[in-house]
Amino acid sequence: MSKRQKRVILYSSPLVVLLLIIGFGKLKLDQIESNAQQLAQMGQAAQKTLGEFRTGVEKFDVEKVLSCYDDQYASDREGFSEEQLQSERDGVRVYRWQPTREKPTSKPDIAAEIGRYLKTMSTVEEAKLKLDSVERIDGAEHAVIRSFLWLRGTRDANGVATRNDRARGEGKEAFETQVLFRMWLRADGNAWKIRRQEMIRGTTVTGDRRGFTDLWGRSNFYASEADGAASSAGIDFASRFNPNFLTSAWKPKTFEIIKYGPAGVSAMDYDDDGWYDVFFADGERPRLYRNRGDGTFTDATLDVGLPETMPGVNVGIFADFDNDGYKDAFFGCFTDSSRLFRNVAASPEQAARRKFVEVTDTSGIVKKGDGDFVVVASAADYDNDGDLDLYTGRYLDPRRHLPTTLFYTRNGEGNSLLRNDGNFHFTDVTREAGIDETGLTLGVAWGDYDSDNDLDMYVANDFGRDSLLRNNGNGTFSDVSKESNAFDPGYGMSSTWGDIDNDGDLDIYVSDVHSGQRWYGQAATLYKYLLTSVRQGTIFEDLPVYKEIYDHVGADWSTYGDKTVKGNALYLNDGNGKFTDVSEATNTNPYGWYWSSTMFDYDNDGRQDIYAANGWITSKSTQDL
C-alpha cells in the first residue's frame, strides 16, 4: 500500500479517529490495558467457581455445590426455581422454570433446593455450567456474571409413563435442562463465592426419544428393533478423508484443519420413480443409494455409471439442466476439477433405468488453478430464462493461505456464477454479474427475499462477514448486506431460507460458531487488540478491513467482537427489505460449532422448525479444547 493510500484510509476511517481520542493520554492507554486484564482474570476466576459447581452436580454432591455459595448468601425469590409443565405432546414434555417461593432465599434455602433438585435426576450424562458473560466488575471484590447451566441425563417419568412403558419396565425418560442465571460474586480469599443469584430463564424438556428412529443397525425402515445390520436400511456408507490431503502436492500445511471439513449430502429422485434417493459427497468414495421403495436402500453408484472413486467431492447438486425430466449432477470438488454428469436412459429399451454420463470436458466448467476449492453449490434460474444456472462457493487454498483475520476474511478463492447456455455448456458470468464474493464460503442459498420474482442469494462465509446479494433483475447483483441488516460477522457455516413466522416472506437461518469464550470477546478486549496493533504497527495492514467493518456497522463496532462469536443467526424478514436477528430472543444460537442447518416442519403443525447439525471432532476425547 502506498503512503498516500494509507493516509486516505487513515483520515477517512472514523474508527481510527475514535481510537486516537481514546488513546489520547497515557493514562487512558493504561486503563485499556488494565480493563482487558481485569476482564480476563475475572473470567478465569469465575470459571473456577462454576467448574466446582458443575462437578458437584455431576457427582450428586450437594456439599460441593454449596461450597460455591457465600455464607451471607441472600437473594430475592428468583434465586432458585421450580419446573412448571408448559406443554405435553407425543411423548415430549416442556417445562418452564418459574420462581415458586414467596420469600427471599438464604443459604439454607439453597441447600434444600439443590438437594431436592439433584434427587429428581436418576443419571447425569453431561453437566456443564458455562460462563456466559461478565456483566460488571466492581472493584477487587465484587462482580456480576451470567452463567448457563446445561444438564443432560435421565429421570423418573413422574409416574406419568404410559402403561406400556411400565410393562416394559421403563420408568425412565431422557431430560435436558438449560438455565441462565445471573450471579453476584464476592471474593473470599482466593476463591469467588456466589453471594446472590437470580434465574433469567430456564427450560427442561423430557421425552421417550421415540419421535425419530435412528435406522443404524436395522435392515429396513420397519424393523421393530436393531437386527444387527451393518447399515441404516442398506446405507452402509462411511465418510472418509480426502486422500489427496496426504500427498505432497495437496498437504494442507498452512490450514491443516481443512481435512475435517467434507461431508455433504443430497436427497434427490434421480430416476423419477417418486422415491427419494440419497447421494453422499465424500473425500474419497462418493456414493449414490437408490431408494427401492420397500424400506431399503441399495448402493447404485456403479450401476448408474458413476466412478468407484471421485476424491475431493464436497457437494452434489442434482438438477435438471436440460429440462428433460431427469436430474443431472454437478459435483463440486476441492482438490480437482468439479464435474458435470448428464442423466440419460441406460439403454433405448430401458428409459426408466438411468445412468450418468460425464460431460465435464465440454461443459465450459474449468478448475481454478490445480484444484477447484469448491465446497458448496446451489442451482437456480437466476435470469428467469427457463434453464437452471449454478452458483459455486469456494474456500481458501489450505496449502498457501490462512484466514487473514478472525472476523472479516476475504482471501478465499472466489465464488462463481455459472450461466447455463443450453446443451450442457456454462459460462462463468461472475464478473459481469457484479459479484465479488471472496469470503471463505461454506453456505450458498437462493431465495427471493424481496418477492420481486427473481432469486437473491445469501452467502455464509467462515471467519467473518456473510453477504446478502440482491438480484437486480437485469443479470447483475448488488451486495445489500448493510442496508438489509442481514450482515452477519460470525463464522458462517451454512445458510437456509424459509418462512419461519408464516408472514408470507422468506426468513434466513445462518449457522455460525458460538464460542465458549464469548465472555472474553467484549469491548475491553477489542480496545486492547486495537492498541496492540497500533503499538506493533500492524494497524496499517488492517486499516482497509477496519474501514470496511466501520462502513458496515458504524457506531456498533465496539460490539463487533461479541457479534462475531455469538453463534447462529435467525433473520426475520420484515417485508420491507430489512431483517432483524432474533436468535438471542428465540434461543436458536446455542453454544457450539454448527454446520448444516435446514428449515422443515417435523411435526406437521404448519410451522417451520429448524434442524442444526454441529460438531468438530478432532480427537477421541469428549472434552473440548
Binding site: S232, L455, W593, L625
Partner: protein, 179 residues
C-alpha cells in the same frame, strides 16, 4: 491440538417452532440428537408417509438416517411442481398454501445449508386440517396459478402428494400413508 476436540461430540439441535416467536430444542426428547460429527443434512419423505425424515452425513463416520415416527403428527400435503415454461422442476417457485387458519409459504430449491440438497416437492404441515382452502403458485416464469382446495379429491382424509403441471388444471393426487 492435543487430546481434546475443537468442539467434540455436540448434540444436534431440533428447534421446535412452538409459535409466538418461541423455539424449544427437542432433539433429545425426540431422539434426534446424534453426537456424531455432523456436516450436511438433507430432508426428504423417504417412505412417503407425509412425515419428513432426515439424513445427515458425518465427518469420518457413518451417516445418520432418522426416520420420522412421530405418532401424533399432523396431516401433510406435498406439492410436486412440473414446469413447462419454467425450468422442469420449478426450482425457485414460490408456493402459498392456506389451511386450518394458517398461510404458509415455501420455495422450491436445489441446494442450501452446508453442501446439502433437500427433496424438491414442497411440504406443508396441515395440523388437524383435512381440507386445503387455497394454493397459490408463483412459477419462475412469472405465471401465477391458483388452485381451489375444493377441487382436491375430498376422499383423501390424511396426507397426500399433489402433482401440478404449470398452467394445467389437471391435478394428480397420491395418497401418503403410514405403513
Amino acid at each position: 491440538m492435543g487430546e481434546n476436540s475443537w468442539n467434540g461430540y455436540e448434540h444436534k439441535c431440533l428447534f421446535a417452532n412452538v409459535g409466538k416467536g418461541q423455539f424449544i430444542d427437542v432433539a433429545r426428547p425426540t431422539g434426534s440428537d446424534s453426537v456424531k460429527d455432523g456436516r450436511g443434512v438433507a430432508v426428504a419423505d423417504f417412505n412417503r408417509d407425509g412425515r419428513l425424515d432426515l439424513v445427515m452425513n458425518n465427518n469420518n463416520e457413518t451417516p445418520v438416517l432418522y426416520l420420522n415416527n412421530l405418532r401424533k403428527s399432523g396431516n401433510a400435503l406435498e406439492l410436486k411442481l412440473v414446469g413447462t415454461q419454467s425450468n422442469h422442476d420449478a426450482i425457485g417457485a414460490y408456493v402459498r398454501l392456506t389451511a386450518g387458519g394458517k398461510t404458509m409459504t415455501r420455495q422450491v430449491e436445489a441446494g442450501s445449508g452446508y453442501a446439502s440438497q433437500m427433496m424438491l416437492p414442497v411440504h406443508f404441515g396441515l395440523g388437524k386440517a383435512e381440507q386445503v382452502d387455497t394454493i397459490e403458485i408463483r412459477w419462475p416464469s412469472g405465471r401465477v396459478q391458483l388452485i381451489d382446495g375444493q377441487k382436491l379429491a375430498p376422499s383423501v382424509k390424511g396426507s397426500r402428494q399433489l402433482r401440478v403441471k404449470e398452467g394445467s388444471d389437471l391435478l394428480t393426487q397420491l395418497v401418503l400413508e403410514t405403513r
